[in-house]
Symmetry: C2
Subunit: 241 residues, 2 copies
């Protein structure tokens, strides 16, 4: 009897945005695994903390890199692939011992989450399940009560790491957009929005659904360094009924 | 003392994907309002049913149109705007009486939801709050455990109502995509995916997180009429580590 792997979305930050299925998975899990940067506590663990069973086994998975490297970089790809291989192997050892392992993930596990890299490595051999979660972007636009897209809007999610002309082209081509991974890319994102004619509508959100969230019109935000996880929202639905 | 308006996302269908905040809002609400097609029960109400307080007042908001009309159509816009105006007025009457009104919405209230049309009408005058929810698309890709986007992927949501050449262009231009409102548009979506070189990866999902969900590769799906709320997923992350 091998165990079972559950990828559990714990939502964007507010523990109140945990789902009943996520809580049930945490009640069932023998082992709770979570990703974090080396030297940092896991955000997912902080969100789910009050639902961890007392004395449950935990498995901390620490990323081997702390700065963002373009994914096309071969050395980065090799290091990160080896990290996911090792993480999958240490989870597989628990599954082979018959344990239920919950991997908790901020937001939704299959939407820009690290869990998916474990899932594709383990799903061919083990029983798996995925509990959907509220995404970080939903948490952000809800916290500031700003409708993002309606009706026949085209909605797009863009990483701020794209070249400036690509950002501009895609921002001009969508009704509604979310730009992620702002960090050092803020001046570039601002210029691209301006040339795409969308700067006026853009909203900057920092620490979305955390207690210390901050939101403002992007035109009012200074070009000081922004956190990596800050996002910019460009609401669509200009032709609303 | 006026009341308070809460837009409450109840997730994609599985009652287990309700959040703690959604349940708390339902426990607090004096009135629970929900949208439905004329003659139909509300899906949001079905999802939240077991959390409605016994005897809570309900307000059913029935759309005046049952078939999809392009949003550019002036007559449609007039009818639907009048409907939202009336719905907002009947909620305002409860808020003026000091009631807490929860408007429950499938998925996330501010992501292609009808709640937003009430919100923009009422937020200038009343205290409001929005509880984010798990989106329908998250429910779909999680139910079939299919990672949708990673890393620097560009992700886009497209209504199947777009012209065929627009669908083709945008599908070729994104790493990952979700096509919504499939219904009668299935043959068009299939042709656009084929010419965009993405048909092989596309997955058709019907009734996402309902008990009778169905998923298959789109190439295996016949061109028989699909439900309006069927979606097509085009997973990205071809260059995964």
């Amino acid at each position: 009897m091998t165990g079972r792997l559950i990828g559990v979305g714990v939502g964007p930050g507010d523990p109140g945005l945990l789902t009943l299925n996520a809580i049930a998975a945490l009640a069932e899990a023998d082992v709770v695994a979570h990703f974090a940067k080396a030297g940092n506590a896991s955000n997912a663990r902080a969100i789910a903390a009050s639902h961890l069973k007392p004395g449950v086994k935990e498995l901390a998975l620490h990323y081997p890199v702390t700065t963002e490297i373009p994914r096309a970089d071969a050395a980065y790809r090799e290091v990160i692939a080896a990290f996911y291989d090792e993480a999958a192997a240490s989870i597989a050892a628990r599954l082979d011992a018959g344990r239920v392992v919950a991997v908790i993930a901020e937001g939704d596990p299959l939407f820009y989450g690290s869990y998916m890299h474990l899932h594709v490595r383990l799903a061919p051999r083990y029983q798996t399940e995925v509990v959907a979660g509220v995404t970080g972007m939903s948490g952000c636009w809800s916290s500031i009560a700003t409708p993002i897209a309606q009706g026949d809007d085209v909605f797009t999610v863009l990483p701020a790491t794209l070249p400036e002309f690509e950002l501009e082209r895609r921002l001009a081509d969508a009704d509604a957009a979310v730009v992620m991974k702002i960090g050092r890319n803020l001046p570039k994102v601002r210029r691209a929005l301006d040339r795409a004619g969308r700067l006026e509508r853009a909203i900057y959100v920092e620490r979305g659904t955390m207690a210390n969230a901050q939101a403002m019109k992007l035109i009012d935000k200074l070009d000081t360094p922004a956190p990596y996880f800050a996002i910019v929202l460009v609401p669509g639905w200009e032709g609303r009924p």
